[in-house]
């Protein structure tokens, strides 16, 4: 292994080295500083005389005397089932004081693309126990469904709730109800640039619920090197793929915060003086993100699955910002957190209108969830959207100026938020309960309004006993606030 002391330039996270023997693109590099510290990096560009290296830990401490070794291979993740229960840093080194990890295999962290012909279409319903998700934006095994959030919103609480509650109903039969351990998922948690406090919140919850035993934690925290964030999710996903496709686990991967990951990409792009794309992010960010998100899925003939819940905070709550925008173009939907709902005390503050689960259709219905599921969801969407629209108008003309029909929709929109979406982070609703709440709301409308629901389902589920109009309103308001109090007390 050739060693060079020929660093020509250090610039931001990049080091340029003169070489005289060819080096492979993407190859791993070790740099030893004069202070004796070893840093790791990766070849970003390779020509006969020069290479550009991106240093994961940052270039602090590197000078022209530092020595550079090319390891002759691309970055590998040592994988083994023994990783379950372990806490690693953002480069995959154990930080939990546990025993040394003896790898079963070392796998390239830039995973090869799954051949679309070899994929199995994801369609197994995952019950998250959260109505806004199960009822309206159903998650299935092997899906990539991000949470689009904003700074200061309770996305972590939601992610943890899903990690705790997620089950696949049919396979759950026999296991005791409410044993606090409903999930049969192995959880891979990839943290990128989050605060130590947030990270502890996750770890504490994992420990409290016993989930840690079937989790692997990769933690790159806010004060860890930014460039390292570009490899953390790849280590996490390589581990996930190994556990899923070679060891048969159903793996739930939580990646947070993708915004910090993208910032790191931007930093590297700027250091390389690349032509920037929209808002300074690299033009290849779509491809780069796709290489992470597309690692979710199922494969024909293999037992396990990789389900991804990436979390991102939208800068300025703007969903047209390149980070959520490119993400939404790749992922199979999105769960949208809403600042207004949050300030109203709705927990989780999910706005279902801009939320979407693209794989919902094949995961629900007769034999999977319930035969009325799709219709209920469609009708609630249409009704809530109509009620939402009317709110603007009410502000101008007042309720009295609206027709009776309009008033019904306004009430429904309110109750939808305070009864259907609102549930708190400790309530686990099964999908039947969720749909029943949906019917309670829909039954406040005349039957003829339910044009998206099959007549048979109306026969079966429409509730004649539900109050409509003004009387119902006050009653529900108090119910709603009681729920909110309960959540606040948690």
């Amino acid at each position: 292994m050739k060693e060079y002391q020929t660093i020509e330039e250090v610039s931001g996270p990049l080091v340029f080295v003169e070489i005289d023997e060819p080096v492979g693109y993407d190859e791993i590099v070790e740099i030893e500083t004069s202070a004796g510290e070893t840093l790791r990096g990766q070849v970003l560009e390779s020509s006969e005389e020069f290479v550009a290296i991106q240093v994961f830990e940052g270039t602090t401490g590197i000078d022209r005397e530092a020595s550079v070794r090319f390891l002759g291979e691309t970055l590998k993740m040592p994988v083994t089932e023994d990783l379950l229960g372990r806490v690693l840093d953002g480069s995959g080194q154990p930080i939990d004081g546990g025993p040394e990890i003896v790898p079963d295999e070392r796998q390239d962290i830039v995973g090869a693309a799954i051949n679309p012909f070899a994929r199995e279409y994801p369609e197994e319903f995952i019950q998250a126990g959260v109505s806004a998700i199960d009822g309206m934006n159903t998650l299935v095994r092997g899906q990539k469904l991000p949470i689009f959030s904003g700074s200061g919103l309770p996305h972590n609480d939601l992610a943890l709730q899903i990690a705790r509650q997620a089950t696949v109903p049919e396979e759950d039969e026999g296991s005791g109800e409410d044993d606090g351990d409903g999930s049969e998922f192995a959880v891979i948690f990839g943290a990128m640039g989050i605060t130590a406090e947030e990270s502890n919140e996750f770890l504490a919850d994992f420990e409290r619920t016993g989930a840690l035993e079937r989790s692997v934690v990769f933690a790159n925290l806010a004060d860890d090197p930014a460039v390292e964030r570009t490899i953390t999710p790849r280590l996490a996903l390589t581990t996930a793929e190994y556990l899923a496709f070679e060891k048969g686990y159903h793996v739930l991967v939580i990646l947070t915060d993708m915004t910090n990951y993208c910032e790191a990409l931007r930093e590297i792009g700027a250091a390389r003086e690349e032509v920037p794309g929209r808002r300074g992010y690299p033009g290849y960010m779509y491809t780069d993100l796709a290489q992470l998100y597309e690692r979710a899925g199922r494969i024909k003939g293999r037992e396990g699955s990789v389900t991804q819940i990436p979390i991102l905070t939208m800068p300025g709550d703007d969903d047209t910002h390149p980070i959520p925008d490119l993400t939404g173009y790749i992922t199979e939907g999105q769960i949208m957190m809403d600042r207004n709902l949050n300030s109203q005390g709705i927990a989780p503050p999910i706005n279902v209108l801009p939320s979407l689960s693209r794989l919902m259709d094949d995961g629900i219905g007769e034999g999977l969830t319930r035969e009325d599921h799709g219709d209920v969801s469609d009708q609630l969407y249409a009704a809530y959207a109509e009620g939402e629209d009317l709110r603007d108008l009410v502000n101008i003309v007042g309720r009295e100026a609206l027709s009776e029909r309009d008033n019904l929709y306004l009430d429904l929109a309110d109750r939808f938020e305070s009864e259907f979406v609102q549930q708190g982070y400790d309530t686990n609703r099964d999908v039947g309960e969720t749909l029943d709440i949906g019917w309670e709301l829909l039954s406040t409308l005349p039957r003829t309004e339910l044009n998206r629901v099959d007549e048979e389902h109306i026969e079966t589920y429409y509730r004649e006993d539900v109050d409509t109009g003004v009387a119902g309103e006050s009653e529900n308001e108090s119910e709603g606030s009681a729920d909110a109090d309960e959540a606040a007390a948690d």
């Binding site: 060819p22 080096v23 492979g24 693109y25 993407d26 560009e45 390779s46 020509s47 006969e48 691309t74 090869a112 693309a113 799954i114 051949n115 679309p116 012909f117 070899a118 994929r119 199995e120 279409y121 092997g142 496709f245 690349e274 032509v275 929209r278 033009g283 290849y284 779509y286 491809t287 796709a290 290489q291 597309e294 899925g297 494969i299 047209t320 925008d325 939404g328 173009y329 199979e332 939907g333 999105q334 209108l353 801009p354 693209r358 794989l359 259709d361 469609d378 969407y381 249409a382 959207a385 603007d392 108008l393 101008i396 003309v397 100026a401 609206l402 027709s403 309009d406 003829t448 007549e455």
Partner: protein
């Protein structure tokens, strides 16, 4: 992709890698021409020459370049990037350089490895060739010399290739042959087999282009009814994520009355292609009753597959489309999404350090887009035959903003614009095609067909629907300020009629077995039923019936159930007669 073989001319020379940066490799001493296919590095990764500067040749590599190092060899094939053409392309799924994904799965398992090449069509497989020419007949380029039953629905026509001189048939074979076997010999010394090769970046020759006058019937109400596409026409579907580009494209692939469908998943989701692979074999073409896959060729270069192959996949697709067009078929090509293709161009261009144009796209973006859409059309093909290629391109504008370069440059070319709207999608109004913004420049030239084939007042009823929707848009602005009840009764009634147009006519659930496909007759009858309601309701209003009484009749809401009703004709008749009675009883 074509198994490019080294030419014997000896012009090609092997070179060495000088530098590697992602998908872009620079080689020195490579005696290659522009767009030649080369094999890069020790693993022989497939690439294409995209720039030549003195002794330095720039190559875009169609596979991952991790661990490829300077100094490794580059081998030139001396041939441009080409596709293999012949029977066996239907019912197939390819990557962006026409490698069959099922063969790749066989060879390297579930994950796509590198350095594996495979011909686009099976060279071993034998096909039953039936000649249609006899010895002594004169044939020229484009003439049919025989047929092969390619799939259940498609008879493959074996043509004299475009480059041939032609001549008198000296001998003709009949029976089972592999695609490369000679089936016809000409006195010119030329031979014809079932196999052709064609460089993807070059349009296959035709005689002429005609003005299209037949619709590509899509089975989608808003499209056939309001914004129709012609066979041989071009259309764009721009929209933000989640607005319905893919579902719309898939509906077109399933239900449109094309003979052949080429469906290109360009830089999009893996599972979406899997869905097509899973669903299509079990679905029937509603026009012929044959399995859908037997008329379909899929090209899947998903977002995580190499970016350079994303650039080439649209060319691979359109060349295959042209081949079936040459046989006289009506081909529909869907590209989801052309934005990913444009971005791949941008990515490669920026690695070449070319001068960026608008938003970093290369200056030749507009030219590439129009070259591509120009390959659509209703053609007089070689060999005295007509065939068409309709192209439908999805566009994915960043942030859903249509003012960006790919959308704008596309709109300058295409004649049908189906504008998807996030707001409609949010309220689950699907397809979320905005009827105020969309247009079709084919409408007038297609009306005669609809009037002849469906109903003589097709255009008139459509105009009534458009006017009603326009009026609604204006009234909605007032309603936003004063509320609906403040409007005069006739305007309230117009809003009610327009609501049925939106809910019963414009909305169409692609996920519902029955609703997903609406033949033009049904499309017309639904429009007509709503118009009946309109006419009867206004008659009642004129007779002094209060608007609340008119809108509360129970026959009207049933309009919304026509879409999902299979036996729609008696159902519509019943609704119309109930409307007449229920309203008639009121005055």
């Amino acid at each position: 992709m074509s198994q490019a073989t080294e030419t014997e001319t000896g012009t090609s020379e092997d070179g060495r890698i000088e530098s590697v940066s992602g998908p872009v490799v620079v080689a020195t001493d490579l005696g290659a021409r522009m767009n030649d296919v080369v094999y890069v590095g020790d693993e022989g990764l497939m690439g294409e020459v995209i720039e030549i500067e003195g002794n330095r040749t720039t190559i875009q590599v169609y596979e991952e370049t991790s661990n490829v190092a300077p100094g490794e060899p580059v081998e030139n094939t001396g041939e441009p990037l080409s596709v293999d053409l012949g029977p066996g392309m239907l019912d197939s799924i390819y990557d962006g350089v026409q490698r069959p994904l099922d063969v790749l799965e066989d060879r390297m398992g579930a994950f796509l490895d590198r350095g594996v090449d495979a011909p686009g069509i099976d060279l071993e497989k034998h096909w039953a060739f039936t000649p249609t020419v006899e010895e002594g007949e004169d044939v020229g380029p484009g003439d049919v010399v025989g047929t092969v039953p390619e799939t259940e629905s498609i008879e493959h026509k074996v043509l004299v290739p475009p480059g041939h001189e032609g001549g008198t048939v000296e001998s003709v074979a009949e029976g089972e042959f592999a695609v490369e076997d000679t089936v016809v010999e000409l006195d010119s010394g030329e031979t014809v087999s079932m196999y052709q090769e064609w460089p993807v970046r070059e349009a296959r020759p035709t005689v002429d282009k005609q003005t299209p006058t037949t619709p590509l019937v899509t089975g989608q109400r808003i499209q056939d009814g309001l914004f129709p596409l012609a066979k041989g026409g071009t259309a764009a579907i721009p929209g933000p994520f989640g607005s319905g580009k893919t579902v719309t494209q898939q509906s077109l692939a399933k239900f449109s009355d094309a003979d052949i469908v080429v469906y290109i998943g360009c830089g999009e989701r893996g599972n979406e292609m899997t869905e097509v692979i899973d669903d299509f074999p079990d679905l029937e073409d509603p026009n012929t009753g044959k399995p859908l896959m037997s008329r379909t060729c899929l090209i899947a270069n998903t977002s995580n597959m190499p970016v350079a192959a994303r650039e080439s996949c649209v060319y691979t697709g359109i060349t295959i489309a042209e081949f079936y067009r040459d046989m006289g078929y009506d081909v529909a090509l869907m590209a989801d999404s052309t934005s990913r293709w444009a971005e791949a161009m941008r990515e490669i261009s920026s690695r070449l350090e070319e001068m960026p144009g608008e938003e970093g796209y290369p200056a030749y973006l507009a030219a590439r887009l129009s070259e591509f859409y120009e390959r659509a059309g209703y053609f007089d093909a070689l060999g005295d035959r007509e065939g068409s290629i309709s192209v439908v391109g999805a566009v994915s504008p960043p942030g859903g903003d249509f003012s960006e370069p790919v959308t704008q440059n596309t709109l300058r070319i295409v004649k049908t614009f189906w504008a998807l709207d996030a707001d409609l999608a949010e309220r689950r109004h699907f397809p979320a095609i905005n009827w105020n913004e969309s247009y079709s420049l084919y409408r007038d030239q297609l009306d005669p067909w609809f009037e002849e084939e469906v109903a003589s007042d097709w255009a008139a009823v459509r105009q009534w629907a458009i006017d009603t929707l326009d009026e609604e848009a204006e009234l909605q602005e007032i309603v936003q300020l004063v509320g609906k009840d403040a409007l005069p009764e006739d305007q309230q009634l117009t809003l009610e009629v327009a609501r049925y147009l939106r809910e019963a006519f414009l909305q169409q659930n692609a996920l519902h077995d029955v609703d997903a496909y609406s033949p033009p007759e049904k499309t017309y009858l639904i429009m007509g039923a709503i118009k009946t309601y309109h006419d009867e309701a206004f008659a009642a209003l004129d007779a002094g019936v209060p608007v609340e009484e008119i809108t509360s009749i129970d026959a009207a809401p049933r309009l919304n159930r026509i879409g999902t009703t299979e036996e729609y004709e008696p159902f519509i008749e019943e609704i119309e007669s109930d409307i007449e009675h229920q309203l008639g009883d009121k005055y």
